[in-house]
Symmetry: C2
Subunit: 235 residues, 2 copies
C-alpha cells in the first residue's frame, strides 16, 4: 500500500508558535496557566498540555490569579477588558491573521460600513471579531440581501473560498458600495487545494484533525466532494 501526503500539512506556524509560547510560560514555574477555551481545536494536544498544568477554562471569572492565555482564535473584547482589570498576566497567542480580520472589521465599521463577517456565528474567531464591533455586525454563510448603502465584508480566516465568493456575489446587487477584504488564510486555502488535488489520485483519503476543529471539518467536506471515500479521523 502506498501512502501519499500533501506537501503542506500539520499545524500552521501560528499554532506551533502558540504551543511554544504556552510551554515556555509553564517552564518558568510561575504557577498555573489558564487558557480561555481549548487553545486549539485538537483534543490530543489540549490533553498533553493539561498534563503539564495548562488548564482550559470556560470563563474569565474562574481565574483568580496566574497567567491567562488568549488562544489563537482570539478573545472577546469584554473578556480582554475584564482580564486587564483583574491584573492577570497575559499570554497572547492570537493568530495575526485573525487580528487582521478584527482590524479590517473595526476599520470598516468606523467608516460607516455595515459589516458582514462570512463565517460560522458559533466559532470563537467570529465571536471575537463580532465583540470588537460591539456586536454590530452580520454573520453570513449563505447569500443574503442587506439593507444598507455601504456594506463591508471580511471573512473568517478558515472560510472556504467558494462560500465566501457566494456570499459576496449575493451582496453586490442593490448596494451603492461594497468593500470586500479577502481575509481567508493562505495556509487554509493551500491545504484545501493540495488535498483536493491529491484526493483524485488515490483510492482513499484520510483527513486527520480535531473533530471539533472548524478548519479540519471544512477540509474534510471540501475533499469529500472530490473523493467520496474520504474519512475524518482524529488520531
Amino acid at each position: 500500500m502506498k501512502v501519499l501526503k500533501t506537501k503542506h500539512m500539520g499545524f500552521c506556524f501560528v499554532v506551533k508558535r502558540a504551543v511554544n509560547m504556552v510551554l515556555k510560560e509553564i517552564n518558568k514555574n510561575r504557577g498555573v496557566v489558564y487558557t480561555l477555551g481549548p487553545i486549539i481545536h485538537n483534543p490530543q494536544m489540549v490533553k498533553a498540555l493539561m498534563e503539564k498544568g495548562i488548564i482550559p477554562v470556560d470563563d474569565v471569572s474562574q481565574v483568580k490569579d496566574g497567567a491567562v492565555v488568549f488562544r489563537t482564535h482570539g478573545i472577546k473584547k469584554e473578556e480582554e477588558k475584564q482580564i486587564k482589570e483583574q491584573g492577570l498576566r497575559i499570554i497572547d497567542t492570537t493568530c495575526p491573521f485573525v487580528k487582521r480580520v478584527r482590524k479590517r472589521a473595526i476599520h470598516l465599521r468606523k467608516n460607516g460600513y455595515k459589516v458582514v463577517i462570512v463565517g460560522d456565528a458559533n466559532h470563537p474567531e467570529v465571536k471575537s471579531v463580532l465583540s470588537y464591533l460591539d456586536n454590530d455586525g452580520i454573520v453570513l454563510q449563505a447569500p443574503a440581501s442587506i439593507q444598507s448603502k455601504k456594506v463591508g465584508v471580511v471573512s473568517q480566516t478558515t472560510q472556504n473560498k467558494d462560500t465566501f465568493m457566494n456570499v459576496v456575489n449575493g451582496l453586490i446587487e442593490g448596494l451603492d458600495e461594497l468593500r470586500v477584504y479577502n481575509t481567508i488564510c493562505e495556509s487554509t486555502a493551500i491545504r484545501q487545494k493540495e488535498a483536493v488535488e491529491l484526493s483524485v489520485l488515490v483510492d482513499v483519503m484520510f483527513v486527520v484533525g480535531g473533530k471539533n476543529s472548524s478548519n479540519t471539518t471544512k477540509l474534510y467536506n471540501t475533499v469529500r466532494k472530490a473523493q467520496p471515500r474520504t474519512y475524518h479521523i482524529e488520531n
Copy 2:
C-alpha cells in the same frame, strides 16, 4: 391593435435639462453655441438643435469663440483644460451621475486602488472618466483577472447590471481588497426592468431611440433576450 407603453420612457431628466440649458443659451442671442460631439446620442434631436444654431464639433480646436457645451456624457480632462485656457463660455450639462462615477474613480485612484471601469472603452462617458484618471485605469466588459492588491470598481452609468456583476465576480478571487461602487444609473435600470416585463406580455416590442445610443442599444439587446420579436427603431 393594442399599444402598451412602459411607465418610464423617453428622455431622462438629465437629458431634458441639457436640452433646456442649450436652448436657453441660444435664446440669449450671444452667438454660436458649440457642443463637443453630439449633445445626446439622438440624431433627430441633434438635427433640431442644429437648425437653431447649435453646432456639434469633434474637436475643441475648431472653436475660436462663443459658448461650448459639455455634453451629458462628460468631457475629457485635457479638453476641459484647453477650453478654460481659451477663455470660452462654458455650459456644463454633464450628467450628475456621470460626475459621480468620475468622483468615485478619482477617489479610488488617490487611495491606492487600481481602478476598473466596467463599460465600453469607446463610449465618451468612459473616455471622460478614464481621462480624469490620467488614463491609469482598466476598462472591462467581461471578467478578467487583475494583478493588484487593491482593486476599485466603478461602472458606466448605462451599464447592464448582469455584465457589471459578472465582471465584479471575476475580480474577487485572488485579491486582498476589492472596493465596488455600483454607479449604474437608476433610470437605465428601471427602463430595462420595465421593458423586459412588458415584452413578455406583447406580440412585438419596439425600442425607440438613437441607433448610435449605447443606452438604447443595450435596452434593445436586453429586451430581445426576453422577446425575440423586438425591433430597434429611431423614429
